[in-house]
Amino acid sequence: MQSRISTNLERLRASRLWNSIFRSGSGTSTLHRSMAIQQNVFLHILPTKVRRRMLNFDATWYLGTLTLGTFLVLVITGILLMFYYHPSVPQAYFDMKDLRYVVSSGLFLRNLHRWSAHAMVLLAFAHLFRVFYRGAYRPPREFNWVVGIILLLVTLLLSYTGYLLPWDQLAFWAITVGSNISSAVPFVGQKIHFLLLGGNLVNANALLRFYVLHCVILPLAAVMLIAVHFWRIRKDGGLYVQQSEPVAQCAEETAGPATTEETAEEVMAKP
């Protein structure tokens, strides 16, 4: 039975149809498997091979992956929420109520979006602390650290802009306080305040502006920065795993454990 399925699958993968869509063709050779990743427009940012040690839970606690995961959840729930939400002053609050009471699974969508946003911020900070305390910012990974900080800022801005969208008292006053802080910047503070709100008070312009920021500008920025972040991980030698990290490339690097690569089993056998 099993072989039947696998032979049929092989036949499918050898067919012309499959090859017209998936150009790399079928096969289990290393070449085929790496081509399946490298020739795919969506997947080719990822490396075709990863070091087994980088898959350790201890190394990263998967925090970065989870942050990306929550980001994907936010994008999907956010797009679904966009079907019901109008960023206009007479409608915003009532749309939020409609989502809560009338839309099928609307309450779930909104709550998931909200909780994922909090989780993403938490995970981003945890990822930051992990990277810092493990020393994964050290050369050659300095620039990736900077990109990560910018990503953190983008995450916080996404949170801040999204907070205004329900247009309730909490939203209104939180954004009023935050934008008033921005006006304390010397020389350009007032201008920043006006630019942010599209006016002097939080009003319809502010709502629209924040909506565009939250749904278009900041997510695009986030996606681009995530792409850079992943690309740099690849180019900097993969994820940093301290115990088994090979000797640093640069001369200034302090000596790490000058050992060859260990196998996974050897790693796991350690206490």
Binding site: F94, K97, D98, Y101, V102, S105, F108, L109
Partner: protein, 699 residues
């Protein structure tokens, strides 16, 4: 310990391998994702709709009800009113007439109201969060811009948002509005209506400019400490003053008073002492003072009207000299008083003053002993008068009327909860706050000055209802939905007769051209209605027209010249331009017509159920007696009245019979023959007609 190790081992087997852990968590996530659609399906409102279907299955008209039923969320959407109401999702049977006997909520039918739900939705009247589809969120939500559901006892407040004139079906609201005006609430708290006008008070707090001429400092002290101890029906509330405060305020008021010449009068001693003790009481009765003033009778019941102050203990209050001067000419002391100017002789003044001065309450001032006031006390008293806002109601020399003494109540029905104070244990809703504030104004904190009124629970409910009707929604609903209050015009009669009418204060009781009271008939068309000689005789000696009423027009003892002046004015000026007085002849009808009219009176129309024509046989006394209507009313008026009474006097309870012209003419002929004792042409045949008439034999 062993089981713990086993648990740990199985956990390790499941989650140890990251790939397998991922697989398992993915499966768990998918299961968790299914929770949301499941919760969505088993929602609260679906449960109630199922309950409704179960309920109607056992009813006789189940097929019809099932056909009307639609599953899913129901919504009333009125964008112009900003209404999105989903109440019908759970309250499914609201419009089904056959569900009138269902008591189980939420399936009972909505009671019949003059508006359709599709026209207004639910939230406009009942408040609550209409957009919600869960019970708690719909009923209890206090989140802005919504309010929690209004308790059913205050339902009439919703009508008051548009209907600013009184409605027949909203007695609580009407009473509340009347109380707001009558107890002077609007003197401290401005209440503006959506059309820009302000609610006017209907009480009459007297000016205190010359108070020392009228009464004593001891009485003022006792009154300030507790108005109800002097007069149970007083509209002045209790300011909960301490002894010292009352002492100081009374000192200030007495010191601040200026004497007015003509405020005191003394009579010759003989006229007072030779009086027959009962003569005073009978003069009081003949003058019909009780039409406006109340007095407690021996049984302790309050008898009389409420236009003027209660006189149960007036002898303890006023000085005899002042009383005599007042009765002689009230306008001298208070130009704006509603008291008419009777033309009493000195003898009568003596009798009346003596009678009223005998009405005392000796307990009232028994324990009041005040030392002469010091300047500090007087100054402190003035301060207190300003603090307590006395000048908001009373005219006090040197103290201006305070602006915005109490908070503006024009939109108090929409006051956000965040702006209200509650005491411990008080339910945090707006109606609770309002009713507690009305009952115990000062419990909400120190330094509050609102006085204590004594209202019954029904009155408190009425006041709360009236206040809850003053909402923001009155202003946001389209202006054409507002029905304005029927206000008073500012008509005043002109000329010499006008002066007389002001002096006699006719409009305290009568309404003329939209201005005046409603105790007595509207005189706007009196000239078209009555005959001159009757009016003249009536003003000389007002007799009873409606035996069932206790209030009567007083006799003012007018001179002939004054009377003629008034009669001329009324007959000439107060005419309805559409009525031709001479269209129907006043006399000269044929005997057949008169007879026909009598038969109609007693037979077809059975008027004797309410009117008396023959004082021996007829007994119905709802309407005025018609024994001499032929010398009282104009024939054309009688004719028009019979055709359509409500057109001549809106709101009269005489039924509109839709009479044909011939019937009306015949009845007019019959009635114009009724000129009192000497002219009854009934003769024989009345008795037989009487018995046949009552069996409902039509003509």
């Amino acid at each position: 310990m062993r089981t713990l190790k086993n648990c740990w081992n199985s956990w390790r087997r499941l989650f140890g391998d990251p790939i397998r852990a991922f697989g398992i968590t993915s499966v768990l996530l998918l299961i968790a994702l299914a929770i949301a659609p499941a919760k969505d399906h088993f929602s609260e409102w679906r449960h109630y709709q199922h309950g409704y279907l179960k309920l109607i299955q056992s009813r006789r008209d189940a097929p019809v009800l099932e056909r009307h039923f639609q599953a899913g969320i129901h919504q009333i959407w009125l964008p112009k009113l900003g209404v999105v109401d989903r109440c019908e999702t759970c309250h499914v049977g609201l419009t089904e007439t056959s569900l009138g006997d269902v008591r189980m909520e939420p399936y009972s039918r909505h009671p019949a109201i003059p508006h359709s739900m599709q026209q207004f939705g639910c939230v406009v009247c009942h408040r609550g969060q209409g957009a919600a589809t869960t019970v708690a969120a719909a009923h209890d939500s206090t989140l802005a811009p919504n309010e929690p559901i209004l308790p059913a006892r205050y339902d009439e407040a919703a009508c008051g948002q548009c209907h600013h004139a009184d409605l027949e079906g909203t007695p609580t609201l009407n009473q509340g509005r009347e109380l707001l005006a009558r107890y002077g609430c609007v003197r401290c708290h401005t209440i503006k209506l959506p059309d820009g006008s302000a609610m006017q008070p209907t009480d009459a707090p007297p000016p205190l400019t010359h108070i020392a001429d009228k009464t004593t400092r001891e009485w003022i002290y006792a009154w300030l400490k507790d108005p109800a101890s002097y007069a149970a029906s007083a509209t002045m509330p209790n300011f909960l003053l301490s002894d010292q405060e009352a002492r100081d305020i009374s000192a200030f008021l007495m010191a601040n008073s200026v004497p007015k010449p003509g405020d005191t009068a003394s009579l010759k001693a003989t006229s007072a002492t030779n009086a027959d003790p009962a003569a005073g009481a009978s003069l009081y009765g003949e003058s019909f003072c009780a039409s406006c003033h109340a007095m407690q009778n021996a049984a302790g019941n309050l008898v009389g009207g409420d236009l003027g102050p209660e006189l149960t203990a007036v002898g303890t209050k006023v000085k005899p000299e002042w009383l005599t001067a007042w009765l002689r000419d009230p306008r001298n002391y208070d130009a704006g008083t509603a008291m008419p100017h009777y033309r009493f002789t000195d003898a009568q003044l003596g009798l009346l003053s003596g009678f009223l001065e005998s009405k005392t309450n000796s307990d009232l001032l028994a324990n009041v002993h005040l030392d002469p006031a010091t300047p500090e006390q007087i100054a402190h008293g003035k301060q207190l008068v300003e603090v307590y806002g006395c000048a908001a109601c009373h005219a006090i020399r040197g103290v201006p009327k305070p602006d915005n003494y109490g908070p503006d109540l024009s939109r108090v029905g929409s006051k956000p909860l965040a702006q209200l104070v509650f005491t411990a244990g008080m339910p945090r809703t707006l109606p609770t706050y309002l009713s507690n504030k009305i009952e115990h104004p000062r419990i909400f904190g120190p330094g509050l000055h609102m006085p204590q009124f004594t209202f019954t629970p029904a009155q408190v409910d009425a006041l709360t209802t009236a206040l809850l009707s003053l909402t923001d929604r009155s202003y946001t609903l389209p202006a054409k939905m507002q029905i304005a209050a029927v206000g008073q015009s500012s008509y005043t009669p002109a000329g010499k007769a006008g002066e007389l009418m002001t002096d006699l204060n006719c409009m305290a009781c009568h309404r003329i051209n939209g201005h005046g009271g409603d105790m007595a008939p509207d005189l706007s068309w009196e000239g078209s209605a009555v005959q001159r000689q009757w009016l003249d005789a009536f003003l000389k000696n007002p007799n009873t027209l409606r035996p069932a009423l206790i209030r009567r027009m007083p006799r003012f003892n007018l001179t002939d010249q004054e009377r003629t002046e008034l009669t001329n004015y009324i007959m000439t000026v107060y005419q309805n331009p559409k009525i031709d007085r001479d269209a129907m002849p006043q006399s000269g009808y044929s005997a057949e017509m008169v007879e026909h009219g009598r038969q109609l009176f007693y037979g077809k129309y059975a008027c004797q159920s309410c009117h008396i024509v023959d004082p021996v046989q007829d007994r119905g006394y709802i309407g005025p007696t018609l024994t001499d209507v032929g010398s009282r009313l104009n024939a054309e008026w009688i004719y028009l009245w019979l055709k359509n009474p409500q057109q001549l006097r809106p709101g009269t309870i005489e039924p509109n019979r839709g009479m044909s012209d011939d019937d009306a003419r015949a009845l007019t002929a019959f009635l114009t023959m009724q000129k009192g004792a000497g002219s009854r042409k009934s003769g024989a045949g009345v008795a037989s007609l009487r018995t046949s008439g009552t069996k409902g034999v039509g003509q």
